[in-house]
């Protein structure tokens, strides 16, 4: 079966050199590959059950896939689409982040309330850290010293010292935190809260809250405005925030924390990825099963591309 899969993937392989956005389809157990030039799906690759978080190794020679219902992290050769091996991930891996050392994966195990640290070279678990209930959002500071796990039910951001692999702080955020990112050379941490409808910004040095962003989409009930994934422009002056079932992406001034614009995209927008020069942003729209392409300069949706069912994660392959 695996051989057949590999052959299929090989036969569909795209020419080398084209910039691509890889999208995990949660309900199709596949990955759709979008050509950034033509804005079309050029490959569809079969993967494990319920793929969610995806990320590339630094040199883009490996793709790591959280196959949540297969309880594993799969490692794929993006050139051929072949699954090379699996990593011991702990149960129900949902989201992960690759440490700047390009070796350690920090994985949120949603059902087990732990964060698992896996060495991708020795393919072994090097630590499991107890965190809050239903961990999801994962981030590592640019210097690699701090890892963050957010827990959906405990409503906390858990701060992990990556040297000792132990928690050194827990900070409360609004209801159901989903995604975390370090910005401004690791001095700021942003955490989105889906039910709370906010993004909380922390000062990393003191782990104290320094700001909060609220969202309000005209004509949409506040309950539907649920911030999830977010991404920053190259200069980190602007953040794009996916607002879930409100079907909008918010454009936020990252210095003043003010929302400047809202862009209409597909249904239940979840995560996002930029192209290489960050001129285009690709949003995964779970319910409508498509990916909307946003022109970053014009702050306008330019095209929506049909992918598999319930697209979830997105990653750039230059």
């Amino acid at each position: 079966m695996r051989l057949m899969t590999a052959c299929l993937a090989l036969s569909l392989a795209a020419p080398v050199g084209a910039e691509e956005i890889w999208v995990s389809n949660e309900k199709d157990d596949t990955i759709s590959v979008i050509d950034v030039e033509t804005l079309e799906v050029v490959r569809t690759l079969p993967v494990g059950e319920r793929p969610r978080g995806i990320t590339f190794s630094k040199d883009f020679s490996r793709l790591y896939i959280c196959a949540s219902d297969s309880d594993t992290v799969q490692v794929m050769d993006p050139e051929t689409g072949e699954i090379l091996h699996e990593l011991p991930s702990g149960e129900d891996p949902e989201q992960f982040v690759l440490h700047p050392n390009d070796r350690h994966l920090y994985i949120a195990n949603e059902d087990d309330a732990v964060t698992t640290v896996v060495d991708t070279e020795s393919r072994s678990v090097i630590a499991q850290i107890n965190v809050g209930i239903e961990p999801e959002g994962m981030a590592v500071s640019p210097d690699g010293k701090i890892a963050i796990t957010t827990s959906e039910t405990t409503n906390m951001a858990h701060w992990i010292d990556t040297e000792t692999q132990k928690l050194f702080a827990n900070t409360l955020v609004d209801s159901r935190p989903r995604h975390a990112e370090f910005v401004k050379d690791g001095t700021e941490l942003w955490v989105s809260s889906e039910i709370g409808g906010t993004i909380t910004i922390f000062d990393v040095e003191t782990q104290t809250e320094k700001g909060k962003i609220d969202f309000e989409v005209q004509g949409v009930h506040p309950d539907r405005v649920q911030p999830v994934g977010f991404e920053f422009t190259g200069d980190e002056k602007t953040a794009f925030v996916a607002l879930g079932p409100s079907n909008h992406v918010a454009v936020v001034n990252a210095d003043t924390f003010e929302v400047e614009d809202y862009i209409l995209v597909g249904r239940r927008v979840w995560h996002m990825a930029f192209n290489g020069d960050k001129s285009l942003l690709f949003t995964t729209n779970g319910v409508s099963g498509d990916v909307t392409v946003i022109d970053v300069a014009d702050r306008e949706a330019v095209k929506t591309i049909k992918v598999g069912r319930f697209p979830w994660g997105a990653a750039l392959r230059p």
Binding site: Q218, L264, V265, R267, T304
Partner: protein
């Protein structure tokens, strides 16, 4: 030879100038022509805003809000109402006697009627571009190429609807009957089209309504404009619009033929 071409051109120039002067001098008419679609855009569309987005149908490449969907339909509405207004003025001309004067010209009747058509189409297009400019200020912008590509589509739609107006004007005996045209032609034509709702939406409520909308020439005129505004060409819509235009033109020529048409019966 030159003289042979000169006379029809003089007639064309005179008729277009007369219509243009009439239009320019009646500033209220220009404003009224703009107020109608703007009320639809700013008030009616607000109620159907579809903040969560409309499903993607060609020529749209992504999710849009209702205000964006309705703009090409409102361009069609401007042309439709202007064509009917023009047919109203034809009836007025006939009652006042200036039509008789025009039709006694030695130039062919079809040319004179075509000149009237050209005049009403030119004015419609002017109104459409004024409306599109206001819509752009309101935030509903088309791709730059769309504004240019829309011009031939607007000309074809203008001539088709103008020809319909001409054909109707040959039917209407008195100015008072114009209200009937509003009720029996303009409103059904406008509402039973894709101007306000996509055809798939019509199909959800009634197959019959959908089928009526699908054969309505105004639907095809609107779709021709809609695709052109996004720099795309819709061949079936062009075919239907041209075909309808030819039929309406033939009806108008027949209606205005003193030997056969309605003019004779009215006389």
């Amino acid at each position: 030879m030159t003289g042979g071409i000169r006379a029809p051109l003089v007639a064309l120039g005179a008729i277009v100038t007369r219509e243009a002067l009439r239009f320019v001098r009646q500033r209220e008419r220009f404003l009224a022509a703009l107020v109608r679609p703007l009320v639809w855009l700013l008030v009616f569309a607000a109620g159907f805003r579809a903040a969560l987005g409309l499903s993607i149908t060609p020529p749209y490449q992504t999710y849009i809000q209702y205000e964006t969907y309705i703009v090409p339909g409102l361009c069609g509405m401007i042309i439709l109402f202007n064509s009917m207004q023009s047919s109203l003025s034809l009836v007025y001309d006939r009652e006042m006697g200036s039509m008789r004067l025009l039709l006694t010209s030695p130039l062919p009747r079809w040319w004179l009627l075509f000149c009237r058509l050209a005049a009403s189409t030119a004015i419609s297009i002017l109104q459409v571009y004024a409306f599109l400019a206001i819509a752009a200020l309101y935030g509903i912008k088309m791709p730059a190429v769309g504004y240019l590509a829309a011009l031939p589509a607007l000309v074809v739609a203008g001539i088709m609807l103008g020809a319909l107006g001409l054909a109707l004007s040959s039917l209407i005996k008195q100015l008072e009957n114009f209200a009937g045209v509003m009720n029996f032609v303009i409103f059904p034509m406008f509402f039973l089209s894709s101007a306000l709702y996509p055809l798939w939406k019509m199909a959800e409520s009634s197959k019959l309504l959908h089928d009526i909308c699908a054969v309505n020439p105004f639907t095809h005129a609107v779709e021709l404009i809609r695709f052109a505004l996004y720099g795309e060409f819709n061949a079936p819509a062009l075919g239907w619009t041209l075909l309808s235009g030819i039929v309406f033109l033939a009806l108008a020529l027949w209606g205005y033929d003193p030997a056969r048409g309605f003019i004779r019966r009215k006389a």
